[in-house]
Symmetry: C2
Subunit: 246 residues, 2 copies
């Protein structure tokens, strides 16, 4: 038995997210189907974690085990020729037999793209949250710093799949403002709750719109109440950039 590590890029626009689901197009499902075509075996692909419907990735990671003589290069080539064009295997490498893409992940980095510009754009609209009303980006940059460190993110967890432990450690939370209304939010943590990045982004945008103040963010954290934080930012602005292993 051999173990392979994958780094995967995908455009999530036309997928119901990472996780295999009967009757839905998913990234995991497409890769497992392609592996079955290559090996004639039913192989489970273990992702570093789920990404939700419509979320993109430039560096999702996964592993799969297979009793095979095929090389990792052959897997990469074969998968890329079998997969739809909106999923690309960026690399395939042999891994230690006990490597597990989810359990061994030390940290993950996400990026969220906002465009605060009017009129909107048509080219690339599927990769950015377009906000027409003027944003106070100075306030948003300040707000982004509130998230760094160890916090209980219960108030920023999406409903539906609650975790027993909601404390996470954010090592980077950086909002960058470029010309032309481009706003990029980079966040890195040892783990994320469901919808956590998108709920943080929604909250920062409400700060930018003047609906929330800095003090409100502190209170939202303390409340541990999802109803206090802002609406979830749309999926299509979010990218899973990289997953780090020790």
């Amino acid at each position: 038995m051999r173990n392979f590590k994958l780094v995967i890029e995908y455009d999530g626009t036309h997928y119901s997210g990472w996780q295999r689901q009967k009757g839905d197009r998913t990234i995991q499902g497409e890769i497992e189907t392609a592996l079955m075509t290559m090996t004639r075996r039913k192989i489970t692909v273990i992702g570093s974690g789920r990404t939700d419907a419509g979320v993109h990735a430039s560096g999702q990671t996964a592993n799969f085990k297979c009793d095979t003589s095929l090389t990792s290069e052959t897997f990469q080539k074969g998968l890329n020729s079998l997969l739809p064009k909106d999923i690309v295997i960026r690399s395939c490498q042999p891994a230690a037999i006990d490597f597990h893409a989810r359990f061994d992940a030390k940290s993950k980095a996400y990026r969220y793209h906002i465009l605060n510009h009017h009129p909107p754009v048509a080219i690339g609209r599927q990769y950015v949250w377009q906000i027409r009303r003027p944003l106070d980006t100075h306030a948003m940059v300040q707000a982004s710093q509130y998230f760094v460190g160890t916090h209980d993110f219960k108030a920023f967890e999406g409903s539906g799949s609650p975790r027993a432990h909601t404390v996470r450690h954010i090592t980077m939370s950086k909002l960058s403002v470029e010309h032309g209304g481009k706003i990029t939010f980079d966040v890195e943590a040892n783990g994320f709750l469901r919808f956590m990045v998108r709920n943080i982004v929604g909250t920062m945008v409400d700060v930018g719109l003047g609906k929330l103040s800095f003090q409100d963010i502190q209170e939202i954290f303390l409340s541990r109440d999802r109803g206090r934080a802002s609406a979830t930012a749309p999926a299509h602005g979010l990218f899973l950039i990289s997953v780090t292993y020790s």
Copy 2:
């Protein structure tokens, strides 16, 4: 009667090109439908020229005439709220009553994106021609300079809609090479024949692949034979960037 000038951005992925065609989704058709919703009149939108199926634009121009009291701001807002998200009116301005988006155009600028990288990309794949085999970009930069000036582009004209005059004057033909295999071709001329940019790109790529030499380009020009030039580059790498008026 008043005349309005539009600057239009569109993602051509899901369109059969600019020109209205019965039963097909086209950019012109969508804008005319939206104008009919706004004004309850049948209005013809005159583009600076057609773009083919799958070609994008960041700065297509058009004009339309209408007996209306609506302001250009109202047209822009109304159209952008009615149009699908892959078409955006970047600007709408009052124009002289005799302004004609096609007849008055002095020059057009196109850009073509190539990515010479392996593995391919999933994110943004709909905006770039991905070529896996290594390209000699130095030879392509040299080749790009052959197209500047006044030439008979008969050999680079697509079949199907021949023009009586096939001489065009190219004022800029510039191939830029960036890190990561990004290749951008910028070309500006007083006018273009059908498929002309894509046929030039196809020919330059054949130079990059070593299939054609510089001398061959000269011979292709002199031959005036479409069969001598290379295959047409795919539509989805091409952008109409701007149209200039005097």
